[in-house]
Symmetry: C2
Subunit: 201 residues, 2 copies
């Protein structure tokens, strides 16, 4: 199977979500363009990466296409354990949040190097000092980390996360993280995102 | 000039940040790979999009490369006005935050359809009911919006933002936003990002 690059993966993830609420039996790339803002050409190329046949001349069969994306990108629908590292303002919004409800992702641990925070903050899952990072992640089998620590802490923590088997990091810090290719990073720092939007094409 | 696609733009934005703290006079694509996790081939292709010459055989001149990225992506260093739409948990973390300090981006307005929130919340910039969206954005010349409203409100608000001239939307909602090509969207919803990380390559 062809490898699907990250930007296409993100669009396909969103396309699956879009199709799951679309009521028509068929959908054309033109219609998807209208609903998503991606060009029909980009959409057709993304779908071609799935290497499936669900009709393209007069539109894709909506449910077939949705299923094909789901099967290609996410064949196992099992629970995926996540942790938050850094319990400042952004981290705290996730403590009792419902952001991941109804998804396979489940927050099972939070970490902060400030022990006051881990003791005082209330949360629906356990909070630990960052010294316990490796042991908790390994014991729980945590695969994804949401990184919201201070800038100066970020590089070291990212390295530790990668070393103990974390597969993906959602990076809310402005740091460029250096981790081995076995760990993927998605940069979502507000400043980075605004700079990307403002950058000339 | 060649158009630079969004993923390359994001990497170049991060590369510029990385170079600004790198102490060596020269830097190789191999070294950048080590520091960033992107492959040297991807890095060389991104840099080739700048259509500049700052030496590649034994490394790029660090400061020349940094300046070239800055000039190509962001020639005008003027203030860029931003607003937050939706003052729930995520929106509130930005009210008195320092996330954009030292950057050209400046938060100048917040909006929420719940007038209690706009009256009670404390903020370093004015908060308005969403009914005033168009008039405030036009009067202030706001170019970027951080969208953190409820799911059901998101499509309508995105359309209004695009109509009144907002150039870029940072989308914290799980909705796939449909806006004209004159407005760019960056999807940073935690669930979308986790699904992208978890999706099979």
């Amino acid at each position: 199977m062809k490898e699907i690059p990250a930007p296409s993966r993100r669009r396909l993830v969103l396309l699956e979500r879009l199709l799951s609420t679309y009521s028509g039996e068929k959908i054309t790339s033109q219609k998807i363009q209208e609903l998503s803002g991606w060009t029909a050409a980009v959409i057709r190329r993304d779908i071609s990466l799935l290497e499936i046949h669900c009709g393209a001349s007069n539109g894709y069969k909506t449910e077939d296409l949705r299923k094909a994306i789901e099967e290609r990108l996410n064949p196992a629908d099992e629970e995926q354990k996540c942790c938050i590292v850094g319990l400042g303002k952004i981290g705290q919004t996730l403590l009792n949040g419902t952001a991941l409800d109804g998804s396979p992702f489940k927050l099972v641990a939070g970490f902060d190097s400030n022990v006051n925070r881990t003791e005082i903050l209330r949360s629906s899952f356990p909070l630990h000092p960052t010294t316990l990072l490796e042991s908790v992640i390994e014991k729980e089998g945590i695969k994804y980390a949401i990184l919201t620590v201070e800038k100066n802490e970020a590089p070291g923590i990212a390295e530790r996360l990668a070393k103990c088997g974390v597969r993906g990091i959602v990076n809310y810090t402005p740091c460029v993280l250096s981790v081995p290719a076995t760990t993927q990073v998605e940069d979502v720092c507000l400043l980075t995102v605004l700079e990307t939007l403002a950058a000339k094409k």
